[in-house]
Symmetry: none
Subunit: 200 residues, 4 copies
Amino acid sequence: MPIIVDKDRKRRDILQAAMRVFARDGYHRAKMEAVAEEAGIGKGTVYEYFKSKTDLFLVLHDHMLAELKDFYMKELAGIQQPAAILERFIAVAFQTFRVWEPFFLVFFDFWAEGGRGEQQALLQTRLREAYAVARADVAAIIAAGVKDGSFRCDNPSLAAASILATLDGLVLQWLCDRDAFDLDAMRETLTQGILRGLQP
Amino acid sequence: MPIIVDKDRKRRDILQAAMRVFARDGYHRAKMEAVAEEAGIGKGTVYEYFKSKTDLFLVLHDHMLAELKDFYMKELAGIQQPAAILERFIAVAFQTFRVWEPFFLVFFDFWAEGGRGEQQALLQTRLREAYAVARADVAAIIAAGVKDGSFRCDNPSLAAASILATLDGLVLQWLCDRDAFDLDAMRETLTQGILRGLQP
Amino acid sequence: MPIIVDKDRKRRDILQAAMRVFARDGYHRAKMEAVAEEAGIGKGTVYEYFKSKTDLFLVLHDHMLAELKDFYMKELAGIQQPAAILERFIAVAFQTFRVWEPFFLVFFDFWAEGGRGEQQALLQTRLREAYAVARADVAAIIAAGVKDGSFRCDNPSLAAASILATLDGLVLQWLCDRDAFDLDAMRETLTQGILRGLQP
Amino acid sequence: MPIIVDKDRKRRDILQAAMRVFARDGYHRAKMEAVAEEAGIGKGTVYEYFKSKTDLFLVLHDHMLAELKDFYMKELAGIQQPAAILERFIAVAFQTFRVWEPFFLVFFDFWAEGGRGEQQALLQTRLREAYAVARADVAAIIAAGVKDGSFRCDNPSLAAASILATLDGLVLQWLCDRDAFDLDAMRETLTQGILRGLQP
DNA sequence: GATGAATGAGAATTCATTCAT
DNA sequence: CATGAATGAATTCTCATTCAT
């Protein structure tokens, strides 16, 4: 079914284009025309693939999260020890700071929009679920460590929330000012701090 | 005999109104007319006090930060021990989660806009400076603890950055989902974690 | 009656200010506030002296024309010979080019507005009357010359109209481009041409 | 398959509509919506063809001048004798009084705006160039007459400036008051006067 | 009288979306 | 399917005018 593949490909292209444009201009300032141009297609064509700007935004959220999760899965695959997984997890997070910069700039918009449940109920739901999943994933790693005795933690979900929060907060701070702190030093210090905090 | 009006007072009123409206609708969706209405004045009057929507936004940023800082100063006044200051600092931060909810929703917009230096260079600069000041303030507390031997920390600025990041990230997560975690439990765990991390 | 004199004085000041501001910015772009500022008074005070912007504009027209006529009267007083009067009249017109530059810039607006009878019926009427009076005045000079045998002219009113037209057109051209022609050369040539055209 | 539209045709339609609306209401009073309505299109469509109201005004100036020049070229084509050309030139000018009435009303606005170099530098430049070209064209006719001995004139450019000025001034006067003078009588008298003034 | 703070009608401009081709 | 011309709702900002003091 080559047609389906083709449509899917184009859909993906538009999403990529949207990410770049939204990252550059911000969701509200970004024009659908700019997205189309970036994707190398006509303005009207975007609407063949996405119902509206909001829809595109929503789908982009899912798409980006899926890509991010894929990335993590690949990078974390095969590691056995919970501590090693956690260390690698943090390292990957710091990698994304640099590599996925546009990704996070768009996330600023997701946060800003999702914070207003009234206006963007669907996005807020998505954001909640995404956070819940992420917390669960990280909590699972911690729980595994607790189980095998390498970690000590009364509330893995809470710990997961705070780890995620720290990483979010760091990308926020770093994207506002690349000189806020040294990425490598921060990664090392943070890793040590978190692992020590989980020590039995 | 010109009409005597407390221009400063009115300016503040408009800023308060803007905060509420921006918090509710988001900066971009918010209409200047809505701000005026919220302030109980006419549309044109807003422009007597602020040059433009952008200007209002910018001034609001400074105003909100100043208020926040005031709040912290008052709450932290008189505490002597660095560890006590830090503990109280975190506690105050968690207080603000609930009380200053609109404040943080608007901050989402500051971050989203400030992340785009191209569009909002002035805001970005403001954001950078604000972060730098906050880091310096927290770092100073830590450094004081290092000096009096109650803390051990190789890089207070780095530690400050990560503490601030965690708090930012938590408010982000919590505003997206009030059920993400229990505020009190998180505060306690986090406080312990941070203080233990700084133990000599 | 010093009060009346005072009010009259202020009225005149406002008119002068309006002329300068209208000349600089154009009638439509000019703000009433700028007129007030130029006159050194408060914005509201202008409305104590003039009902509206349109009213101010209208009165300014009359005021400027009266001043112009005064100027001509003084300069032409005492000259006896029709040819000498006409020559002097043209010379005075050229003088005004330089000296009354703002005056004519405002006249551009009178013409532009007065051309639209629908919008500015009163101004159009004023403009018509002013032109009629000017034509009659110049025609009278020519008629005097015809009477005393120094001129020959079948239709003094028509000749007057064309003389006035030439002067208007020249100021128009000159204010658009000060290098369009040399004022002195033009004055001489024009004077000769007109006088020769009226030679018996 | 994009919709095939004669963009040039539509552009011209909008310009024609703008001319009518600007002539009726004046540039500043005219609303872009009125222009759109007159052109039978939507408000936003005008902006697909012209960047702004100012841009539309500027392009209209060039467009109108080009049309006027075309008209003159056609009417003057094939005439050989300088005196005949000049006579015809004046006759055509008087024709335009009646036929191109909206044209000249809009020109009032060009003059009023162009006189303020600060506000409308581009228009002023255009106006200057247009005048310079017109002077050169008329001067060339006179110079040709001087060359073949049919005219005598020391300064054709100066003469051209004054001829153009007279015509401009007459249209100004006539549009303010259609009863100011009889067009035909004026044309005849003026033609005679100018030709006599150029007699060897 | 004088003032300038307040106002809101009004206008330019933008841009998501539609739809004829 | 793809396109981009057309659209008008929506929004920012301006400024003449009013009126309480």
